[in-house]
């Protein structure tokens, strides 16, 4: 069987069906975090899962739509749709290159994703909210600035503290879920062959 390629192949029926589910997962996990009172967002688990399975275009679209739909209830979230979109895209590209097949590769991709997230959120919160958005970390940033830390370092540190653990955990969940998926199911997605090939290679190595 030939390898599936192109944007068109990324958006097959099962992918289209899984986008709404991913958006719902984002939403539910975001709420679960609130119920468990954890100091994180974890509202992009669904986006990352879809991005890893179906590639950068689907990932970017899911990220964008997910926050855009949430912003009907809270419009101040809308600018963050950009970050989610870019992160979905980046994760999708990494997944296609086979960066989610081994644990050390997962760590590398999680670090890259966190760096991208920090840079993007510093830019977005500066452009749209002047550096102080409504999340908890803007209080932290404000505290640092009044303690004498200059504006930009305070922004970077503040976003770093909130983004890095968040992105790490958000990527860990899909990584574990995909490891538990059957080949038969993985094959339905355009990135599925990456994981199937990696599994085959691992089996051959152990034999």
């Amino acid at each position: 069987m030939t390898e599936k390629k192109g944007i068109k192949a990324d958006f097959n029926l099962i992918t289209i069906l899984i986008i709404p589910i991913a958006i719902a997962v984002n939403f539910i996990c975001g709420n679960l975090v609130l119920t468990l009172k954890l100091p994180l967002y974890l509202d992009s688990i669904g986006t990352f899962l879809v991005a890893i399975l179906a590639g950068p275009w689907v990932g970017a679209l899911t990220g964008l739509l997910s926050i855009a739909i949430n912003s009907i209830a809270d419009p101040s979230l809308l600018p963050f749709a950009l970050i989610a979109g870019v992160l979905g895209g980046v994760t999708g590209i990494f997944a296609r290159k086979g960066m989610f097949t081994k644990f050390w590769k997962f760590i590398v991709s999680a670090i890259v994703a966190s760096v991208v997230a920090v840079i993007m959120s510093v830019i977005v919160s500066y452009v749209f909210f002047g550096g102080f958005d409504t999340s908890g970390n803007s209080i932290l940033i404000a505290g640092m600035i009044s303690a004498g830390v200059p504006f930009w370092p305070a922004q970077v540190i503040g976003n770093f503290i909130s983004e890095v653990p968040d992105k790490f955990l958000s990527l860990l969940v899909p990584y574990l879920v995909i490891r538990g998926m059957s080949d038969r199911y993985l094959y339905k997605f355009s990135n599925g062959h990456v994981f199937i090939d990696a599994r085959k290679a691992e089996k051959e190595n152990t034999n």
Binding site: A24, I28, P75, G130, V177, Y185
Partner: protein
């Protein structure tokens, strides 16, 4: 059916595409000019919501989300943007002129666009909008994604609370120290995700059995009227948009 449609008041009786145009025009106009115009457009939006019978719910949501954001944003901006010209100071806090100017611009932008989006969410029926968009050539796959998201979220919340209850009954603690609560996260999310993926496969089979991707013309369940009034309104809205952008450019040249 006819009766139900007639009950929709004000903007809600418009063709959803016309309402979408209105929202876009309101959002663009509110960010093009300074904060006085923004306040005017926002006031207009509240009136429009009230005319359409959504006044109370719109205002409530508006106060709870946008006004709160703007107040926080304004306070932080005016206190922490570095500047020379101190207007008012208190203990270690000082309100600077530069900060206040920046805060006014930012907050009016957030308020303008945000209110427009909120109004859109209240006035436009997604089912109707997607039906119209599909008629105009949007792919059914895209409209499916938009519509089914709204249906899946409540379904999944139900499933999530069932999973949480099940895990609690097996002894997972959900209200203890931070570490314990964090540990409860994985066994709650895992089943949810796997469940969701399996149900996606089932949906795919169901949709295929109903000829979702068959390459033929499909019959519509819902017909949405596009009256001459709607067409006229859309033309008027587009001309307002063009005028506003033109006016802004003219103003910008005049100021230079």
């Amino acid at each position: 059916m006819k009766n139900m449609e007639n009950k929709r008041k004000g903007i809600k009786s418009w063709n959803p595409l016309t309402s979408l145009y209105l929202i876009i025009v309101l959002a663009v106009v509110s960010i093009l000019f300074d904060f006085r115009i923004t306040l005017l457009t926002v006031a207009l939006m509240i009136v429009l919501a009230a005319v359409s019978g959504e006044g109370a719910s719109f205002t409530k949501l508006w106060l709870k989300s946008l006004v709160l954001v703007c107040v926080i944003c304004f306070a932080l901006q005016s206190l922490f943007i570095p500047g020379e010209d101190v207007l008012w100071s208190f203990w270690i806090f000082a309100v600077k002129r530069e900060g206040v100017q920046k805060a006014v611009v930012l907050c009016s932008r957030i308020l303008g666009v945000g209110s427009a989006i909120l109004l859109g969410g209240k006035l436009i029926d997604m089912k109707h909008l997607t039906a119209v968009l599909e008629e105009r050539g949007m792919s059914p796959a895209a409209t499916y994604v938009l519509l089914s998201t709204a249906n899946i979220i409540p379904q999944m919340s139900k499933k999530m609370s069932a999973i949480l209850d099940a895990q609690r009954s097996r002894g997972i603690e959900t209200d203890s120290s931070l570490l314990v609560r964090a540990k409860a996260f994985f066994p709650s999310v895992g089943p949810l995700l796997l469940n969701a993926l399996v149900s996606a496969e089932e949906r795919a089979i169901t949709l295929e059995a109903r000829a979702f991707s068959a390459p033929c013309r499909k019959t519509k369940l819902r017909e949405i009227a596009d009256t001459p009034r709607d067409k006229a309104l859309r033309a008027a809205l587009i001309s307002i948009l063009v005028l506003a952008i033109g006016g802004r450019i003219a103003l910008w040249i005049a100021l230079k």
